[in-house]
Point group: C2
Chain length 308, copies 2
Amino acid sequence: MASARSVGKKLTIEGETFSIKEATPDNFNGLDFIIFSAGGSVTKELAFEAVKRGCLVIDNSSAFRMEDTVPLVIPEINGSACRKHQGIIANPNCSTAIALMGLYPLHKAFGLKRFFAATYQAVSGTGAHAIEELQNQVHAWTQGSEMEHTVYPYPIAFNLIPHVDSFTENGYTKEELKMLNEGRKIMSHPTLMVSTTCVRVPVFRAHSIAINAEFEKPVDVAKARAAISAFEGAELTDDPDHKIYPMPLYYQEKVLCGVGRIRKDMALENGLSLWVVGDQLWKGAALNAIQIAEWMHKDGCLKKNTKS
Amino acid sequence: MASARSVGKKLTIEGETFSIKEATPDNFNGLDFIIFSAGGSVTKELAFEAVKRGCLVIDNSSAFRMEDTVPLVIPEINGSACRKHQGIIANPNCSTAIALMGLYPLHKAFGLKRFFAATYQAVSGTGAHAIEELQNQVHAWTQGSEMEHTVYPYPIAFNLIPHVDSFTENGYTKEELKMLNEGRKIMSHPTLMVSTTCVRVPVFRAHSIAINAEFEKPVDVAKARAAISAFEGAELTDDPDHKIYPMPLYYQEKVLCGVGRIRKDMALENGLSLWVVGDQLWKGAALNAIQIAEWMHKDGCLKKNTKS
């Protein structure tokens, strides 16, 4: 389903062709669950109509993430929070989800106190039009023409823009604050401290994050690596002597996030530095939403719609 | 002067044509000072020959930076250290120089205790062949061909490589350790703590650095901005409401480094977050070397060569 504009378009997925219907309340009747992937305003308008009709909504927007009645879920971390849903489950912010795939196993091992994160965010996080803008700028550059831009306030090709989402009063952007607020909620860790700088980079796909993290307990690099390896949402990509570290070009369309460059932090008492990379369209968005439905199906808490 | 390979080539600079001579000890005779910009091994071979002949060497390599007898200088910070030279003065690492243009004025205002830095380093830091490699990869990409690479271990176009200089035993790269060691020496601050992650990004020119810094005294954003504005090596580029922040595309061939995104750090007691951008071929290399000579000339400590 999509907006009226797309009605009648065909989509072929693994050989099967689907015809797009309009996302209207009536079309929600009888569905067990719906994955919403629209802007916050459309979501707010339609999600309650779906819930009224007995559908579970798994929502990819930020509209409901911080509502007390809405679980915010990464299945590998807090899947069981799904059981307490009241009709809506929220999917986390992309950078937060990817950072936590590296941080959560370390939190379990050593007790996370605070972390500093600098993000390197791909243009696909902004949408298809941003991918096209980077493509067009690169083509223009090879032809010696001017790099035009409408999606971002400045050219992104061969540039960096330290501005993702809008600025808030304290000088952080909303995107930067999500790392704190969503991180606390997903890990049930209300005293966690976080400081983030979010930067858009000329990469098409997959976000990367440099992290300095401080823990309650003494840390150990071998134990940290073992914790990452044992965690089902991440893979250890960490052998610097053989030039093995995660990079966005190699984390496109990967289910797992990659964690590397793990070392004792030189400026923190019980600290680790690490580098996490993940496909923000997959683990940072669509894949996590599907994994929520899968987790619930396995758990038995994904119910049949009995309203119609 | 250059290696034998370039002898006889002509260089035209502001209308005047120069013919390249070989960099041999004899050719150093009578020169007051020489700016060395070669690899560490050539520097080690030739610098002492120049010193023996009464020339001051201002060296851009890392060969002598940490020697006790060699001043490591950013003129705006520790110009007076030049007076104690014993024939060689070292020019700092590019990322360190740029980071300190933001940090030093804040250190003076609030007393720096430690900082965390994540770098976004342009390919020109590696040299002309790396610029060409990124150009070739981008052209190949627009033509649908494979992106070949010989300079970096992986393609850098549309990618990020968290590996600058070689790895050391503690898991940090040499480049990452320079931020600590050179930072301490330049600011005469032996207890400073630093943790850095250095990342190569697909940008041609100008390095960017995300910094979280902790201070002894309570911090204030307005005072921090005033300190940056008052510092002769940096300019304040910090008005997020009007989308004003430093970006590498606009800091090419700029004498001053740009400092922006200044805000109270959310995870440090007396902390500031900031974003610093500077042309690493200028302030991070050639410009700083020239500024050292200029500072010494003004100060009167740049002596005539009296040996020949």
